[in-house]
């Protein structure tokens, strides 16, 4: 252990410190330590590097970050860039719970992270994680909210008062006696926020708290955070991919790439310039992948009209984007465009769902009288709130749940009459968590599995596996274990295991949860290639409205077990009652175009396509097509 103690400055400089030896450090009196941290700053990190135990490559490299009282900091970056790791330093989880090699100085709320136990940060730093199921310890709401204060041995009456206060703040007044299991995803996450608020922390740290939530649940959480920051002055540091709804409430944006901070500044300058970042696999990805769409739109519009990119007045939300667009109209009125026609139902539908009702218990139907068809080569989005019956519906298609006879027809055949193996040759189903579907120890075997169990000849297997490995770009990993790949690669592999059977229908269950926009785009690009090559129909369950807007030919909306809508995505977003009922939000580009169309119907019509909107405004529509 190398430990340099600079007594003259009265501080323990903990460079090159092996954290396993941490108990040997003599802890300086707190008054001395407080003097070390920059005055008034909640977070004061100087040049920290960190490598997980047993790993040679550091995840964080020379990171410095100072966060002042009352700031709302959004940390962005591609998967694997070290952003979650950085958050874990903020309450001492690193280096106390997760060991490893930490170098540099880190002070949070005036305390040295290396010298302070995680439990001692409980009243200063509140941590909220992504998965509500994993972070909630108790079964009743009130027990969960009391948990921290009970551990701190606070008197019972104080605990009850704080519990009431915290639940009221997150809008869950009177929920104390409810069971956590009966709550929606958004409510569960609000309980997690209340559970840390009860200790009245100065700093709230959140790691993708809305990744598992539907848009409605996400809005609930962001609403709470905004109030917490503005009204109570709580400092917030947060990692989150959903920037559209966040960009205008944060005060600062930090971008990370490969373990380092590559940008640190206010949101407008953060999103005014495209920078290069790198994915976990080392590929270059544009940082614009996690720009809010309003900003992306403004940059594209500035590009197209040849004006310099805005920086000080870069729009971050729909209203600002509409005002920005007003100054960029050029050219004369456009010729009336024909409305985009609904896609005609194909002559021979691939899949017909007829009068489908389903429930585990007769008195509690999960699905009621569902009717629709899927045509060949369509990309269809299946939308609805968490718990609306989407996944149950999709699972009926592959016989995970048994559908009633005569309700599901694959071409001319009744699905209920087919064996599980016959169905899986025609309908592929990609689960939310790719790990659940792996059945072998090797990437190559994994892809070959479906062919092997169906008795394909060796040379045919060799040929098809090779082809699929090319399509999903995993050839270099053919001999590795599936579990050693990155999340993005595992996701591609799970798609590949389905592809190899050349299914006519591929069902994707929440394919982009916890992934940034860039990854989602890559996956959808793969889907589009599939459709081109094999004419595969894609049915994707998703909350990601930008994904629906960009890729879906059609949208289905399920609410309370009934099919409320079947039509073009644009018509879905235009129906405000429907999107409210389904807990959806329209993508910013659609709202911007609607607002502009209301003022200038001769120039703009509502659209889901960002380039199309830019073309309409600059008067280049038709020329670029």
């Amino acid at each position: 252990m190398e430990l340099a103690v600079d007594n003259t400055a009265g501080m323990a400089s903990l460079r090159s410190l092996d954290v396993n030896d941490v108990q040997e450090i003599t802890i300086a009196p707190s008054s001395v330590r407080a003097a070390v941290a920059a005055e008034g700053s909640v977070v004061d990190i100087r040049g920290i590097s960190y490598a997980y135990e047993g790993e040679a490559d550091p995840v964080l490299r020379e990171v410095s970050l100072e966060v002042g009282d009352g700031e709302f900091v959004l940390i962005l970056g591609p998967s694997g860039c070290g952003k979650s790791t950085l958050l874990q330093v903020l309450n001492g989880t690193i280096p106390h719970t997760l060991r490893g090699r930490l170098e540099g100085d880190a002070f949070v709320c005036g305390k040295s992270v290396v010298e302070t136990r995680v439990a001692s940060f409980a009243t200063e730093v509140g941590m909220v994680f992504q998965d509500p199921e994993a972070q909630i310890i108790n079964t009743l709401v009130r027990d969960e909210v009391r948990f921290g204060l009970e551990n701190l041995c606070r008197p019972a009456d104080e605990i009850v008062a704080r519990q009431t206060e915290a639940l009221a703040f997150v809008g869950l007044d009177g929920f104390g006696d409810r069971s956590i299991f009966d709550l929606s995803g958004g409510q569960k996450q609000r309980v997690s926020v209340a559970a840390v608020l009860a200790a009245r922390p100065r700093l709230l740290v959140l790691d993708e708290p809305t990744a598992n939530l539907d848009p409605n649940g996400m809005a609930e959480i962001f609403g709470v955070l905004r109030r917490l920051n503005r009204e109570s002055g709580t400092t917030i540091v947060m990692v989150e991919h959903r920037v559209d709804e966040l960009a205008d409430c944060v005060t600062r944006v930090v971008m990370m790439d490969r373990g380092s901070i590559v940008f640190d500044g206010d949101p407008r300058s953060a999103f005014s310039q495209r920078r290069a970042a790198h994915s976990e696999e080392g590929d270059a990805v544009p940082s614009s992948a996690w720009f809010p769409q309003a900003a992306e739109f403004a940059l594209a519009l500035a590009d197209a009209s040849g004006t310099p990119a805005p920086s000080d007045d870069l729009p971050l939300n729909v209203d600002e984007a509409v005002r920005f667009a007003e100054d960029h109209f050029a050219g004369g009125p456009r010729a009336a465009l024909p409305e985009r026609a609904a896609i005609p139902a194909s002559e021979k539908p691939l899949l017909t769902v007829r009068n489908l009702s389903f429930g585990y218990e007769r008195k509690q139907p999960i699905l009621t009288d569902i009717n629709f068809t899927l045509g060949e080569g369509e990309i269809v989005a299946l939308c609805g709130r968490n718990g609306s019956g989407k996944t149950t519906l999709a699972r009926l298609l592959v016989h995970i749940n048994a559908p009633p006879p005569g309700t599901l027809m694959l071409g001319e055949r009744d699905i209920t009459g087919l064996s599980a193996r016959d169905i899986s040759a025609e309908i592929g189903y990609v689960f939310q968590n790719p790990d659940h579907q792996f059945v072998t120890d090797r990437v190559w075997d994994e892809i070959a599995y479906g062919l092997v169990v169906r008795g394909y000849a060796d040379h045919a297997i060799e040929e098809r596996v090779g082809e699929v490995l090319d399509i999903v770009d995993l050839k270099r990993y053919r001999d590795k274990s599936p579990f050693s790949l990155s999340l993005g690669e595992r996701r591609r592999l799970s798609v590949a295991t389905m592809l190899v059977l050349e299914p006519r229908l591929l069902v994707l269950d929440e394919p982009t949860i916890g992934q940034d926009h860039e990854r989602a785009q890559l996956l959808m690009g793969l889907m589009a290639r599939l459709r081109e090559r094999y004419g595969t129909t894609i049915l994707m369950i998703t909350h990601d409205v930008r994904l629906v807007a960009e890729w879906a030919d059609r949208a289905l909306v399920v609410s309370g077990g009934r099919l409320l809508f079947d039509g073009l995505p644009q018509a879905m977003f235009a129906n405000t009652d429907l999107i409210e009922e389904a807990g959806l939000l329209a993508p910013p580009v659609f709202e911007i175009s609607c607002a502009l169309a209301a003022d200038r119907p001769d120039r703009v019509q509502p659209t889901l396509s960002l380039p199309h909107l830019v073309d309409m405004i600059t008067g280049t529509e038709g020329r670029s097509a």
């Binding site: 509140g126 941590m127 200790a199 149950t392 689960f431 659940h436």
Partner: protein
């Protein structure tokens, strides 16, 4: 969304729901002692009826739930009874079935043994169904002086069972769509376990480390003691239940010891 198992806590307001967990635990132990001590069918029938009454009236558990939770054991007990009745030796022939003599002693003993198993299963169902595992953990800490870290470990283990069950179901479904067919037989079951193990392990480790972070960040383990805002307390009803159970156990074992129990067979016959 999944059908819940019968052996799971459900909140309620019945007499048993309101009873403190330790009293219920004592009740469960007493019932087991009585059931194990009784080798005579009529006593076992009385105990079984008493437990059934407790389940229906005092625990407000619906007959459907009782059936769902115990039918499998019920079938096992009936077959156990039949086999034992036919195979155990005896002296008094109660009646004959297809020319085969059925002895009063063997039928009686077999019925007692079969009911004993059913009674213990049923009383466990009553206990699990009406006792919040968290309350039990707290009771262990506040009334039994068990260290709270140990009690919480116990509670979290119980709390996480349904999560793991759900995850296994998901993995099974996820692998079924790959064309994995479930087969009978030990070898294929072992193969199945192996396939489930990796995804389950990866998922559980991730969840466990998340739970640890979530608990530590809220000061779990900061002090040797912690506050419990609400902890279950013994009430008059608790003392009454305890007294009745204690009296029954002492009386029964006392009667056994002093030879007051005479064998009266349910199947007396000839």
């Amino acid at each position: 969304m999944n059908r819940s198992t019968a052996f799971q806590f459900r909140s309620g307001s019945s007499f048993f729901h309101r009873l403190d967990p330790l009293t219920k635990l004592a009740w469960l132990v007493a019932i087991s002692l009585l059931a194990f001590g009784a080798y005579i069918a009529w006593v076992q029938i009385l105990i079984a009826l008493a437990v059934l009454f407790t389940a229906l009236a005092l625990g407000r558990i619906s007959p459907l739930v009782i059936f769902r939770g115990t039918w499998l054991f019920g079938i096992a007990c009936v077959s156990f009874w039949v086999i034992q009745t036919l195979t155990l030796p005896g002296t008094h022939v109660a009646f004959t079935v297809l020319g085969h003599p059925i002895y009063a002693e063997s039928a009686d003993y077999a019925l007692a043994s079969a009911l004993r198993i059913y009674t213990i299963i049923l009383s466990s169902l009553v206990f699990v169904r009406t006792t919040d595992p968290r309350e039990l953990a707290i009771a262990l800490v506040t009334q039994m002086r068990v260290p709270y870290r140990v009690a919480y470990a116990f509670f979290i283990a119980l709390r996480i069972v349904p999560t793991i069950e759900a995850e296994i179901k998901t993995i099974r479904a996820a692998q079924a769509v790959r064309g994995v067919v479930r087969k009978r037989g030990l070898a294929s079951r072992i193969g199945e376990m192996k396939r489930y193990a990796m995804p389950l392990l990866v998922g559980s480790l991730r969840k466990a480390s998340m739970m640890v972070m979530s608990m530590e960040s809220r000061a779990f383990g900061a002090y040797p003691q912690r506050t419990f805002v609400e902890s279950p307390r013994m009430t008059v009803a608790s003392y009454a239940v305890m007294a009745v159970m204690l009296a029954l156990v002492v009386t029964w074992y006392g009667a056994l010891a002093f030879g007051y129990v005479h064998s009266i067979y349910v199947f007396s016959g000839a």
